[in-house]
Structures are given as C-alpha cells and as structure tokens.
Symmetry: C2
Amino acid sequence: MLDICLLGTGGMMPLPYRRLTALMLRLNGKGILIDCGEGTQVGIRAKGWSFHDIDVICFTHFHADHVSGLPGLLLSIGNSERTEPVTIIGPKGLERVVRALRTIAPELPFDIELKEIEGNTQTIHEAGCRIECFRVDHNVLCYGYTVNVDRQGKFDPEKAAANDVPMRLWSRLQKGAEIDHEGRHFTPDMILGPGRKGLKVTYCTDSRPVKAISEAAKDADLFICEGMYGEPGSEGRAREHKHMCYAEAARLAAEAHPREMWLTHYSPATAKPEEFIDVAREIFPNTYAARDLRSVTLKFEDDEQ
Amino acid sequence: MLDICLLGTGGMMPLPYRRLTALMLRLNGKGILIDCGEGTQVGIRAKGWSFHDIDVICFTHFHADHVSGLPGLLLSIGNSERTEPVTIIGPKGLERVVRALRTIAPELPFDIELKEIEGNTQTIHEAGCRIECFRVDHNVLCYGYTVNVDRQGKFDPEKAAANDVPMRLWSRLQKGAEIDHEGRHFTPDMILGPGRKGLKVTYCTDSRPVKAISEAAKDADLFICEGMYGEPGSEGRAREHKHMCYAEAARLAAEAHPREMWLTHYSPATAKPEEFIDVAREIFPNTYAARDLRSVTLKFEDDEQ
C-alpha cells in the first residue's frame, strides 16, 4: 500500500488557504517528500503524518517556493528524535543550496546524504522505491520524479523444484537476496514467477509540456502535474514563465494515459482551481483540480480484489 | 495611529492552527516587521496588510523559527513591485545569515540595507520610529525591540514670539528642521511646547527574564513578551532552554507596568495558551494570552479624547 498526500497545491507563494505544492508518499513505514516550500511542515502536521519517518526529500528545482521549508523541516525531523540518515535528492547545486539553508539549521541529530542528479535521467533506489528523475523544461534546471513500487512475481514451487533450489534458501530468495550455496549461485528469479504490476506515481512541476513528462507518466496510477494557469488565454503567460496551463497538462495526460491526473501548483491569482477544470477534462476526462491534502492509498492489483 | 498585529504566536515550529511568532507595526504607511519565521508572509496576507510597505525587518536572533520566512517574504515584497530599499536590523551575524538565505532569493527589485546591532543597546531611527534594541539573555545572541513613536510639543505662538522666530519659518520648524536664517540659528524647540507622550511598544522573545527587559518596557503602551511555558512546574525547563514561563513574564510586566502585556511564543505542546493565564494575572492583571492576529491600534493620548 502506497499512501499519497498532496500536502499543498500552491505555486509562487503560500496563501492563507493554500500551502505551497509538496507531495508526500509513505510505503511500509518509510516516507518520501517531493518539494518542500515554506509551510510544508505544517501540511505534514495537518495530515497527521510523522516527521520521524521521512527518509528521502526530493527537490524538483531550487526556486524558493519549492525549497524554503527545508530548514524548518530538518529541525522538525530532528525534534522527532530521528537519528537515521536522511537522503536529499536534487539537481546540480544541491550541496550549495542545502549548505546555505543549514546556516539556520546547523545542528541535527542525523546525517544528510546528498544525491545530485546527473544527466537528463537517473534512477535512484531509496525507501523501497525505484525513483526515476527526469529532466523537464523550466527556466532553471528542473526535474520531475516517478516513484515506482516494483512488485516481484509470486513464489512458484514448480520453478523452484525445476531449478533444484534447496527449501532453506526460499525465504531469503523471496526477499530479494542472491545466495552462493554449495558451489552454486542462486537468484530470486529461480523461484519466482513473472513480475507483477507494481505502483507508479509521477510528479511534475514546474515545466513546459515536454515529451519527457508524458513518457515518464506512461500508464501511471497517478500523475500529478502543474496547472499553473487555468483561465482561457493563459497559454502565452505559461510559455513566457515556463509553466503549463491546464490544457497543456491534460494533453500530456492524454498521451501518457495514467489512471488519473491531479493538477497542482496553481497561480496565486487562481482562487478556485476547479473553475476551469472542464478545459482539462475535455482533453483528459479523469483530471482533478486537487486542493491541499488531497490523498489516496494505492493498492496492488490483487489486493483490490 | 500605530497599527499593531501579532501575526503569529508560536515558538519552535509552526502548527496548523498557530503560526510562528512575528509582530508587524504600521505607522503612516510604513511598516516594521519584527521576526520572520516560516509562514510569516501567510500571516501578513491573513491580516490583509501590504508587503509593499514593509520598510524595516528586525530579527531578535537567528534561530530558524524567527528567520526562516525571510527568503519567501523578500520575494513577496519583490512581487509587490517595491523598489525602495528595505532595512534589515539584527544581531551580529546578520550579513552572513541574510546572504545565506538569499541563495534562494537572489534577485530582488530593491536594495537591502543591513544594520548589525552593536553592543548591548542601540537606537536606530527608521520608518518614523525610534527603535531601541536591547540585549537579552538567550542561548544565542538575542535582542528585544522597543518601537517608540515620539511626539513633539504643540506649537506655542507665545514662545515663538518670545524667541522672535519669523512666521515664515514656523512650518518647517514644526516639521523638525533646524534653520539658519539672517545670521541666527533656529531650532524646533523655539516654537514648540514641551514634548507630549508618544507611543511605545516593547517586544521580547526568546530570553530569560532579565532587568534589561523590564527597563525597556517601562510604561509601554504594549509589552509583548514570550510565554513559552504556562503549566505549573515549568520553571526548570524555562531555565534550561533559556526561555520564560508565564509567571516570569508577568513579574517583568509588574516591574515595567505597561498598559497591558500580550504573551506569545508558546511551546508547541501548549494547545490552549489561555489555560494558564491566571498564573500571570495574579502577578500582572492586564495580561492576555494572545492568539494569532491579535491586533490593536494605538492612538496618541489626546486623539483618544
């Protein structure tokens, strides 16, 4: 089960009724946060989730509305008595930005491991997930993220027998280990059936609509995409500021055909993001204009039966 | 008229129902902000006040809960199309902290003038106010602030005549100018009666209760003081963390006898700050456990008649 909460849905600046965009995911007691603008820690409290279990923080880019909440969040994670390291993933420049912001959060009871993304795409395994970073098209270096929860095949006793795998190795192989035993090398695929459909969530803001996004969101269970401008005639503004309007996000979804799309990162001028939702739904019907704390729990296919 | 709004009242970390402590004052279209933790800009929006008119930002100290909102606030001031400089006042280290936080707010359409406080007390004139900074006793270098709106005496025509001040100079002298005219030096006191009572607001957090605070708040119209802990038996914790409990704040007020005292900077564990108010009121009856956005407009004495 993958718990998902869009902690905030605002772009540029936090408003009394809308926090800055940030996404949190929880899997088996581990947490992944994507973006952390000013007030993100309030969103986590409002949702009632734990600071202690945040293992990974991913930054799309280093504009303040996506990163300014980091010092306060780190201190709150520290106050939750976490001592295990926290991994922070982000574009080139990560070390410089984190070091600068830690000027006001210098002492933490846990280590920070920085992973600067290299190139246009990179895959990072953290918190039991396969995180795919993909470069998008903003006015600064910016990445989207796909969080995959992969699912191995079922245990297949006939395959185990055919491969002559000793029973005492089954449990460890099922947990993913590779084992050298009595002169032979055993791998999980020797006892498992074909891989099953996992879970996939793609998050992208701030960007022009580029093919890398629709490719990343291909068949996702959930695609969360910026919808900076909804009102008719905003295409020019979106192009100018390197953002997307609703229709552009919906066209990406129509190409990627995820199960559903949530819009986020609204312009502060957009008081009611659902007002223009029909523009998107004409292109991709399963679009939702998310509001703060919109949440879902994704389950594996056969868990749903 | 001096408009005052306690934008937030929390200490340590922002909560869904309580922003971090910050005070804003407005006088004749100019604004002074004291402290700027994460989410302070949301408080300003919630109050409906303008970012454009913030002329001065004062920091008590550089713990994150008092400073982490700076980058976002500066960007919001920039988005309000301000081009006039903004003055930032704070303890030694100000330049280092502001430079670090501006890593995520590098481009602003206005200049920033930094004034690092020197010594135990310093008086700075900004935004039409006389701002007195006074050193307090926290676990890092920390200052309280008294904002004074001084008020000159009334125009006294008999005094003007006795001093033989030409009528054509009256208006400029009343506005505070000193004038050399026909071989003589004229000063405002030559035409004005005795100075009248102005307005005075003292703000202090985070500190142990020291004499510098009660002296600074002497006869203030409003004394805003931290009340980190209200519950009985919290004196030891207050001493340990270099904060104050309600009774200690009230004893300072009893010495200073301001018109009233507002408590602020509550521990995140204090859900209902008014629960322990009697502890303070037994010592200083005119104490209020402020909540976010508590506001008042102070008027000069004879404006109240």
